[in-house]
């Protein structure tokens, strides 16, 4: 198991990207920062630049205009970078799959490590997904 990836699990800096979302997932992600859930006490922090990110939290159904930017952001993320598909749109495009303005599903564009379904997933579900990821990386 990659040493750097294991080190990640001490505190995770997360960069959030929306590629065509309705916003619900994005707000539930922000909700994780608020007092009731307060993920910052676990060292999970949203960062303002992808260059500081350990994890990419992606929402959205993969709107065509957003895909090139998403790819660029993934390229700029320092590796190793885990990708979390948050919400059923990011997981499998939800009811937008056959829209003219929606491209391929996220996991055909960049590799995805964690899938968190839900529309939107509750903050508890998002946190549970991140915890599963952390446990997996630690080899538990």
């Amino acid at each position: 198991m990659d040493f750097r990836l294991k080190a990640l699990t001490k505190s995770i800096w997360v960069f959030h990207v929306s590629a065509g979302s309705c916003n619900n997932c994005d707000i539930e992600i922000l909700d994780c920062l608020t007092p009731r859930f307060d993920v910052e006490r676990f060292g999970i922090q949203l960062v303002g630049s992808v260059r500081h990110a350990d994890a990419l939290l992606v929402t959205g159904a993969m709107n065509k205009k957003s895909i090139p930017r998403l790819k660029k952001i993934y390229e700029q993320a320092p590796k190793p970078c885990v990708v979390v598909a948050c919400g059923i749109c990011a997981v499998s495009q939800n009811m937008f799959r056959y829209s003219y303005n929606v491209g391929e599903p996220l996991d055909k564009i960049i590799p995805v490590d964690v899938y968190i379904p839900g529309c939107p997933p509750k903050p508890e579900a998002i946190i549970a997904g991140i915890v599963k990821l952390v446990k997996k990386i630690r080899g538990k």
Partner: protein
């Protein structure tokens, strides 16, 4: 004078059809040559609010419905313009008198392929720059 009567009086023969679906839903037809003047009257003199416009493909061509709201009475005055006949469909832009229409005309252009003459900024609004020309997503597909 009631706004309804005022509209009927001032627009006169420009109104080629008038249908009151209910007390707060009025649909009026005008021809494409008259829409600029009609929109100017409704927006500026009658001081209606421009809510939005909707373009629909119909068997004979296209129709654009401009939805104006008379907030004081809660009535929608929806002005229908038929664009029938040869392609490409085109009509005067009402943006010069109504800044609120700028975006929706751009959207109708890129989604339906209706040309808005004299629009100050007719370029893509929603679709990516590399969206293929001539591909209008809201049109019905030819079989």
């Amino acid at each position: 004078m009631d706004i309804r009567d005022k509209i009927k009086e001032k627009l006169g023969s420009k109104i080629t059809g008038w249908h009151e679906h209910s007390s707060r839903r009025v649909y009026l037809n005008v021809s494409r040559q008259d829409i600029f003047g009609v929109a100017e009257f409704l927006f500026k003199q009658a001081a209606l609010r421009f809510s939005t416009a909707s373009a629909t493909q119909i068997p004979s061509g296209f129709e654009i419905v401009y939805h104006f709201s008379h907030d004081a009475s809660g009535t929608m005055y929806s002005v229908r313009v038929l664009l029938e006949g040869a392609e490409p469909p085109a009509v005067d832009s009402i943006t010069p008198v109504c800044s609120a229409a700028e975006w929706i005309e751009r959207e109708m252009w890129e989604m339906m392929g209706v040309n808005f003459k004299n629009h100050p900024n007719l370029k893509r609004l929603l679709l990516a720059e590399d969206w293929p020309d001539g591909n209008y997503p809201l049109r019905k597909k030819e079989d």
